[in-house]
Symmetry: D2
Subunit: 338 residues, 4 copies
């Protein structure tokens, strides 16, 4: 079986990784890749290691030549294309934020614009390790945010097990490589601004990923305290590390909840006691890795790391695609060396 895929927004960092993964996926042929700024060129001109793939504008992309599209586009530009594809009977994995929030009013509050396609909502949230039943065979999946993936992998098992102290703030101190900020030139992501620097941004209750994080956690347990989320920009290209300070009611049960939920997973691992998760565990892999450090009777530090462009975006999109088409979930993601 060959599934024909189209990729919108192929020249951004997420799109480039997705092309790379899909080009190596045994069940996929890439039918088209779009770029508004580089249409007419080869993808190789955007990235020297890319396959020699011609780029077209979204308007010229042949929806009738594909079975699925991946949308690596900014929010508000993505949802209309999702609607168009679904109307053509084409399935959709949306890597933007447009389809992650069930309630258009919440979207409007966090993103500052009216939701462009509220009728599409709700869409299954594609974080397979936290629930893949709604993803199997789905026609449309909302791929989670990079930070949201890391935070939810750490906190959801605790929320589900009922071991988080009700009402207590859930402090998450997160750090991301620069590729999370995209490839559009801006002064704050120039080499000379980032090299030798390290910067907090949108700390506390300001980052947009809080919306999807709290949506998922509230569905598990409505009595949780607020998530305090402090992202920082690391002087490296890729990778996210979230240091999560979880106030727990039962330390043994908390650790067991995390170890048990991920025990059978091939792409999420909890390290043995005493070992700490680092970016080096996960960068350039489709995996997330967690470590557990009990500090006091009631405070568990969970460190969760992943590659923001892979498990935080494109390889998770491939997991979702595989589930959508009833393929083994890690198809195209795991080689012996990766």
């Amino acid at each position: 079986m060959t599934i024909r895929a189209g990729i919108y927004g192929a020249t951004g960092y997420t799109g480039l990784e997705l092309v790379r993964l899909l080009a190596g996926h045994p069940a996929v042929s890439i039918a088209f890749a779009t770029s508004e700024t580089s249409a007419g060129q080869s993808l190789r001109q955007s990235w020297p290691q890319a396959p020699d793939l011609p780029l077209v504008t979204a308007a010229d992309a042949p929806l009738d030549a594909v079975d699925v599209v991946f949308l690596c586009l900014p929010h508000t530009r993505s949802a209309p294309l999702a609607a168009q594809a679904l109307a053509h009977g084409v399935r959709v994995v949306d890597l933007s934020a447009d389809l992650r929030l069930n309630d258009p009013a919440v979207y409007a509050r966090w993103y500052g614009v009216t939701h462009p396609m509220p009728d599409l909502l709700p869409v299954p949230y594609g974080l397979p390790e936290l629930g893949r039943e709604h993803l199997r065979g789905a026609r449309c999946i909302a791929n989670p945010g990079c930070y949201a993936t890391a935070v939810l992998l750490a906190l959801t098992p605790l929320a589900r097990a009922g071991v988080l102290v009700p009402g207590a703030p859930l402090i998450v101190d997160a750090k991301s490589g620069v590729s999370g900020a995209g490839r559009t030139p801006k002064q704050n992501i120039l080499f000379c601004e980032v090299h030798g620097n390290f910067s907090p941004y949108s700390i506390g209750r300001a980052h947009r990923h809080l919306a999807e994080i709290e949506q998922v956690l509230a569905a598990e347990n409505p009595s949780l305290g607020p998530v305090i989320f402090s992202p920082h920009l690391l002087p490296t290209d890729r990778g996210i590390l979230a240091t999560v300070y979880a106030p727990v009611t039962d330390m043994a049960a908390a650790q067991a909840a995390l170890r048990e939920l991920y025990a059978g997973e091939s792409l999420v691992e909890v390290l043995p006691p005493g070992e700490l998760a680092t970016l080096g565990h996960t960068v350039r892999t489709p995996r997330a890795v967690l470590s557990l450090t009990p500090v006091t009777d009631s405070l568990l530090i969970v460190v969760c790391t992943l590659d923001n462009l892979l498990k935080g975006a494109s390889s998770q999109a491939v997991q979702n695609f595989n589930l959508m088409f009833d393929l083994p979930e890690a198809t195209g993601l795991l080689s012996a060396g990766a």
Copy 2:
């Protein structure tokens, strides 16, 4: 007036910065600089921008030719030299951990060895902005740890003002450049291990700087909760950024306490509301910079940054030296451009 200074351990990163500062200090002449491994060479062979200063062993250092010594040595090696210098009537600024803890039993617990010179204790703790009265004219000063300086600048004013929630954990998520790990070759600080990586270490209640942090905070307010301290290694050479999650009883009073304490300081600054402190504010300067982000009614995020080799070590040592000899505290530290 020229004060004759000797520097022990001149070829480490802290020692090199101290030499640079003292070489430019208008009231200092450097009488000797020691290195056990490079004795007989010029300091320039250790660092291409260093002054052409001959290195001697500690055993060959002429104590009778100096008025003050700076000890940039590992713990346990420092205290005996401090005792020897004091016995010769030479004043001491100790940059090691040996003289920071008042109680030798606490030292033994955190450092795993018997204190080498318990009779020297206690020694004034040299964090001038938190109390400089005991430092003026002192014969011996314990220079604080780099992380401890950052954390105490953020938390001490809150403890002193009585606005921290009693018993609540004080979560500090800290990040440091690699120079904090010293210049002795070890695999974990090789370029290829750090580049593209980011790693937590000694998180929770394990890092030795907790001892001095809690000693200072307990003296301000014995009812505080535990400090949860999670250091991480940044892929950059220098700088510390501590993100401090302070549970406060009165948000306005908390912010006022920080702003007021540092209002007249030339080397510590609290940024205006809305601006966040970054490494870029302080790297290669003798300053610490703080920012205040109120998140909820009861949670204040204080970000404190400084250069671990300067305000976290050598420029703070010069502040202490200036106080010791009744010089203006910022002598040799502030030029218009720095």
Copy 3:
């Protein structure tokens, strides 16, 4: 004496360094600093360590309030302001390329535009160590390019001494930190494009600095071979290192020419035999450092390093300013620690 200075283009990397240097210069007061994009803000919003200096547009800059202006502007925008300032009796140090080439036709050929102010030409070329007689008291000085400074410091003494093999290609393999590309956002200087990368660009006979390099060398010796100049982009923020492969007729005379020319200089140093110049020798200093490696009887490798923003731009501009106003040439540049 206080000389009142205005700085055009203060928010670029070169402008920021110049402000820092002039703010610490004992004979200078900064009267204004311009920025078209940030006028109305403080310079501190562009750079957290900058002085709190208000920015105005070039149109609003009070030329009658200054004795000298420094032009840190793109080519073609600089020369008209130079003409305007000179017409007001204000002296000019121009850091752009506009005034470096004596012949407007050569300018047109290399820069692809008609020279905006040909009547200003020629202007003394401000590389003091290669000839400061025309700079003392000058009303207008053309500050050399960063690469040109490094290459000319290595080759001019050899050309002057007549020891270069006539007609033989002069191969220069040069490497620069990213700040040389300026602060205007472009994709190729984003952090994620440069980190982990290293790229040649404009190699051979394509880079514009060839024009000023060959103008200077031809004035020394018209029989030289072509300069082959290959710049590369380094994954670091600042610094230039040029590896110059000089075919020489007399190895001893060649080395002597370099050592003797710089023997009395405070800002240019030739390292002792056996030691190689590195970026670490010069980054964040106003100095250039050279090393000499004789390879065969007829091939001398000269490595020249400097900080592209300092000796390659702003500190050299201060040297030229000092000469212009009969101040000691290194005023404001050398502290004991720098």
Copy 4:
């Protein structure tokens, strides 16, 4: 068919890459991996992304359980193990320098020690694109040095085509990431020494790879001039870029020689005219990429880049292994995404 492989020196950077490649190779099973310092541990303790492979000492490695060994060891330690393996009927791919030079006297001159196993010499030099006939079915192959691979890929086709100017120096300005210096802790490869720095080393006629480079070139054409080889240390972890200044007698023939020799190769590519090779073309791939820039009628700049750990070491070792066992040469190296 499964070929059983043993890897000596698995915890260095080259060994780690080789394990990763062989673990994903469809025809290989890894029978053992050695480390003197980490024997008894899992390879995963040396590298978080490594397979969970037990490490043994070389003395405990079961030679009778393997068909081939890969030697990732320092020179002088490698040749005796090669002799031992060959004596057991086990084939050898040696990644050290021990078997690269045909003449033990040349080895003694460049490496400063007597060759430990001169009777093994000569051994085929494993640079497949320059001649794979001696590698097919070979029992022992000397894997080339990383710099040597880059330089020879650029110069050998020109030497073979007879288009290099006889006797003229062949200037090679090369730059390497830090992993080329190995994983044994030394001060000069600490993060803080390399970050923000760039350094030449062993420039001119001093680097050991000159011996193998000139051995290969002399076999093609004995009338060539000396190779002038100047390596520099880049502030990045991996990758080599060599800028080669080739004096040619016929520019068209020179370019044709390079394009034609590599026309059918899957792992070496010559870029189209106008495009320049960068580290980004090859890092983390098994490929070498070259670009050609004609500068004058008689000077061609060839830029050659590769990943020093892959085409410069471990993936080239896999090419050689594949040739040795009559497998398609790129087996285990090329996936669609790599």
